[in-house]
């Protein structure tokens, strides 16, 4: 683990507004870019049906083309029959997404103003009856999402009232229905402290930061940041519920070998941002998240961020990792629990700020173990029960396969650990790097 200068690409998934400038000093909580998205599907306008003509004439009738921006009421298609003009108008402001001569339709992707006022539909006026009567015919509920053109009310004579826009029904008062177009505010934060080196137009920025990266082996939850508190005395200790304090709200806690289930629950309730630990029990993490975790691919897990550095169970954190993180107590650190096991492996990370006097390394990070790591005398770590987490030195490398207590026959290393000399499958050992 060496401090390095890294570049972080911080961009939105879709166009928005960039909020920083090149050269600007940013912090994890700095908003780099944001956008207000309107998550409704395109409106399909049955053009040829409205004009009473076969679908294949769509292209001849269309006045607009794919990609055009149109205003409410703008003519989309038209035809002259026996001297009379027949037109189809756009029901809303938007962008032409598709023109289909197969179906005779135009798909319109709506665009709206996030500050657009709520649209109020007066069902009584539409159905031309008193309010008390009209409200009986309302077919939607408050809190429902509707599409443009959905039926809001229908009377006994099948006369209907349609939704003029897509959106959320925010209120039904008497016979009036209020519909608000939903907007999602999407923001991308800097995540690390550093300098903006490049602006990515409409999407975000590149940020350069000096960080010490401590990788984890498994995590849940996404990116977050907070002031670090070391909640245990050393890398072998367990963080219990009583170790979580009121003042830990919005903080990131460092544990040792284990975090108890009760501590996880308390921390989440208290508003702790994240916990880093050598080990945790799968059972406790599952209970915290409220469902079984299937971390083959990234999941959106709605619980606080957890970073496990060694494995599941009670496993002391690698002492170098513990000391490196502990040194940053009181500082603002960043973590990301995102984990992907399959192709395109993603491991969770702890990013520690680097002080000016610490210096950064420019040499390549050592990659996964090579044969040179496993020679007699080298220090290794065992990564499977029954000796998970134990560190020892290779005493000898037997050439023949041996039969383990499980009956499995394999090549082993003879390793001397604090608890004695053991024969460990070669596959169950990782290089131990300081």
């Amino acid at each position: 683990m060496m401090p390095r200068r890294e570049t972080f690409k911080r961009v939105l998934p879709d166009v928005g507004q960039v909020m920083v400038e090149k050269g600007q000093l940013v912090f994890p909580y700095t908003i780099v870019a944001e956008t207000k998205l309107q998550p409704v599907e395109p409106v399909i306008i049955p053009v040829t049906e409205q004009l009473g003509l076969p679908p294949h004439m769509m292209n001849q009738m269309a006045i607009v083309k794919v990609g055009d921006l149109v205003e409410t009421g703008q003519v989309l298609a038209g035809v002259i029959i026996e001297g009379l003009e027949y037109e189809v108008h756009s029901p809303a402001k938007g962008k032409i997404e598709d023109i289909s001569p197969l179906l005779g339709t135009i798909a319109l992707r709506l665009e709206g103003d996030p500050d657009e006022p709520v649209r109020v539909v007066n069902v009584a006026a539409e159905l031309e009856m008193p309010e008390l009567m009209a409200k009986r015919f309302i077919e939607v509920r408050q809190g429902a999402m509707v599409k443009m053109g959905d039926t809001l009310a229908k009377d006994d004579e099948e006369k209907k009232v349609f939704a003029p826009i897509a959106g959320l029904i925010t209120e039904i008062k008497g016979a009036t229905i209020s519909i608000k177009r939903p907007f999602v505010l999407r923001q991308v934060f800097a995540y690390v402290s550093g300098f903006v080196t490049e602006i990515v137009p409409d999407l975000g920025a590149m940020i350069e930061s000096d960080v010490l990266r401590v990788p984890g082996v498994y995590g849940v939850g996404g990116e977050t940041w907070g002031v670090l508190r070391v909640a245990v005395a050393n890398e072998t200790e367990t963080l219990k519920a009583e170790g979580i304090l009121e003042s830990d709200k919005d903080k990131i806690l460092l544990a040792g070998a284990m975090v108890e289930g009760a501590a996880l629950q308390k921390a989440q309730k208290m508003g702790v941002k994240a916990i880093i630990s050598g080990g945790m029990h799968n059972k406790d993490v599952t209970q915290l998240c409220g469902h079984e975790i299937k971390p083959g691919t990234p999941e959106n897990v709605l619980c606080m961020t957890l970073i496990v550095t060694e494995g599941m169970g009670r496993i002391p954190m690698n002492i170098q990792a513990f000391q490196a993180i502990a040194q940053k107590e009181g500082k603002l650190i960043s973590v990301n629990g995102l984990t992907q096991i399959r192709a395109g492996v993603i491991r969770p990370e702890v990013l520690l700020p680097v002080e000016d006097d610490e210096g950064i390394s420019t040499t390549e990070e050592a990659t996964a173990g090579s044969l040179e790591d496993f020679v007699v005398g080298n220090t290794v770590r065992i990564v499977r029960e029954p000796w998970f987490g134990e560190v020892g030195s290779i005493e000898s490398i037997p050439l023949n396969e041996i039969v383990l207590p499980s009956g499995v026959k394999t090549l082993v290393y003879e390793i001397k650990t604090a608890s004695g000399t053991v024969l460990v499958p070669r596959a169950n050992v990782e290089p131990y790097r300081s």
Binding site: N282, G296, R384, L404, G407, K409
Partner: protein, 594 residues
């Protein structure tokens, strides 16, 4: 050299394995084998390199020249007669399947694609619940090697199929292998073919016979053959390094699962059996079956022993895994161990308890993947049966299973946890507990993962491919007999089992309900097996009736499983755990095994 030598390689997703066989009149011999990491991905981007490395290791091992000074594989020399290869490298053949109705043409197309050895990226249909724009967005995310499109019986739906063509055209998916056009095999209503010609589309289209020409008929072979041909000539030539390997092989390179299918079909044809095989890997479990000569395959993409361990736990439920384990292993420990196996997939179990946990997981992965297999191998849905005009739509779209375990004569196990089980009886246990075979079922194990090699070799020489299977690949375990239906009371005597070997003394044993017995019978030894009838049990020929059969032995012998089908578990988990440990003790008999 006493015979002809063939070099056969399987280019897997992580490992390339080269085997050298010598075929003579008297016997087939495996001269040697060597592995090397597959080199399809960066920085190598050339499968030839990994193949060359594996062959070079083999060359050193055997001191037989297999490569020349130009570092190409030797062909057309006296050293080897031919080179063959199978491949699942780079994720294998990745396909998008599109149909019209999910439970009809889309499902038929899915069967065709799986049977051709493809990895399915997605299966889409008009009634899959997606909006048009969602479908377009989804297709754009995928980067298929090939698309199989079906839809509309002959004389049936037209416009709806054309709409799906439109959607594919708009999405304009890109291949992951290069800039070339994505091949599209159209196997739907032939009346739609002119529509392809009338529009500008981005595909390399090939038309084949409708794979669902009528509601009650499925014709998958033309589509399967087309997939294979396109795979070889379009997909493989784009994959890095394959073009060079393709020039040197004696017969077409096959997708690995298709090669396994050929091996199983060969066995099925030779023995007149319905054969089933499983291949349980780290991330996925394949189930293959040959029923009345027709090949079926499913891939349970999220059921496996390491990368997918937690998915198996989620699907099966922790209690279904714990029920196979002794009570000393707490839920907390089992969860942690499985989770750690997922995080470090290559590690090995050191203690007997760790092995038990892995084997419990394997049982559940097999059970779930078999369920998925039977979900796909159903009688054609949407096929109206005679005189059922008044039947409800549930009955119209019924799920009448095409075949079941009672129809399977031979079960073959493959995949690390099964093939490398420390003791053959453990492999047999996992296969039986996972698949619950019924009636009499022969059991074998592919210990060396040679099924694909034999399968691809069958393109050149069926007779000797069969010899490879029989003499080198398959380890006979013996067989298992179990009623197909019926239960007794606990400890009720259910059957008297007699085994009369051609050589040696006969064995007679009374077996009670919920009991498992193992009668020793060595490999290749024949015996007459008789299981007496019981009014409560049916072995496939009716209640009361006995079962008599000539059987062949194996590493385990003849197993008698009187636990019932399905297994009759106790109600509480703690009791289930005691129950499974009692079964385990009976399986292991000698006490010196796990």
């Amino acid at each position: 050299m006493n015979g002809k030598r063939y070099l056969i390689a399987d280019i897997g997703s992580t490992t390339t394995k080269a085997l050298l066989f010598e075929i003579s009149e008297e016997k087939v011999t495996l001269l040697g084998g060597a592995d090397a990491p597959t080199t399809v991905e960066a920085p190598y981007n050339d499968v030839k390199l990994g193949l060359f490395q594996a062959v070079s290791r083999l060359e050193k091992q055997l001191q037989i020249p297999l490569t020349d000074e130009k570092h190409f594989l030797q062909t057309n020399t006296h050293a080897i007669e031919g080179l063959l290869a199978t491949s699942s490298a780079g994720g294998g053949l990745q396909m998008l399947v599109v149909g019209l109705v999910k439970t009809m043409t889309a499902e038929s197309a899915e069967r065709a694609a799986l049977g051709a050895g493809a990895v399915l990226l997605d299966v889409m249909a008009q009634d899959d619940g997606l909006e048009m724009y969602e479908r377009v967005a989804r297709i754009r995310e995928l980067r298929p090697d090939m698309i199989l499109m079906a839809g509309g019986i002959e004389g049936g739906a037209l416009l709806e199929v054309a709409v799906m063509v439109d959607i594919l055209t708009k999405a304009d998916p890109k291949s992951r292998l290069g800039d070339h056009k994505v091949p599209l095999i159209y196997a739907g209503n032939s009346d739609v073919r002119p529509y392809f010609e009338s529009i500008q589309h981005p595909f390399e289209v090939q038309f084949v016979n409708n794979l669902r020409p009528t509601m009650d008929k499925e014709d998958l072979n033309p589509a399967r053959l087309a997939i294979q041909e396109v795979f070889l000539h379009h997909v493989m030539t784009q994959a890095p390094g394959y073009a060079e390997v393709s020039k040197r092989v004696t017969a077409p390179i096959l997708p690995t699962p298709l090669a396994v299918g050929k091996a199983l079909q060969l066995l099925a044809k030779e023995y007149g059996h319905n054969v089933m095989s499983m291949d349980i890997g780290g991330a996925t479990t394949d189930v293959f079956s040959v029923f009345k000569g027709t090949f079926y395959r499913t891939v349970s993409a999220n059921l496996g022993m390491s990368y997918s361990a937690m998915h198996v736990l989620a699907e099966a439920g922790i209690d279904n895994i714990l029920r196979w384990l002794p009570e000393e292993l707490s839920e907390e420990i089992v969860r942690d161990w499985l989770h750690n196996k997922m995080l470090r997939p290559t590690t090995l179990p050191v203690t007997p308890e760790a092995l038990q946990v892995e084997q419990a997981l394997a049982r559940e992965a097999l059970r779930l993947s078999l369920k998925q297999h039977f979900n796909l191998t159903v009688a054609l849905r949407g096929n109206k049966r005679e005189g059922d005009a008044t039947k409800s739509s549930e009955e119209f779209f019924g799920t009448e299973v095409l075949f079941g375990m009672k129809d399977i004569d031979w079960l073959i196990g493959s995949g690390g946890v099964v093939s490398h089980a420390p003791h053959p009886v453990q492999a047999a246990m996992m296969m039986i507990d996972g698949f619950l075979p019924q009636g009499y079922t022969k059991l074998s194990l592919d210990r060396s993962f040679m099924l694909p090699h034999a399968g691809v070799f069958s393109q050149v020489d069926e007779k000797n491919a069969l010899r490879i299977l029989e003499d080198l690949c398959l380890m006979p375990l013996g067989g298992v007999v179990s009623p197909i239906s019926g239960y007794g009371m606990n400890n009720e005597k259910m059957a008297r089992v007699t085994l009369e070997p051609k050589k040696g003394a006969s064995i007679t044993r009374d077996v009670r309900f919920n009991e498992i017995a193992i009668l020793p019978l060595a490999a290749n030894e024949e015996a007459e097996l008789t299981v007496s009838g019981h009014w409560k049990l049916n072995y496939g020929n009716g209640f009361w009736k006995s079962l008599s059969k000539t059987v062949t032995g194996g590493e385990v012998g003849i197993l008698v499983d009187m636990r019932g089908r399905e297994l009759r578990w106790e109600k509480k988990l703690s009791q289930q755990r005691k129950q499974s440990q009692a079964w385990l003790a009976q399986w292991m008999q000698g006490g010196d095994r796990v």
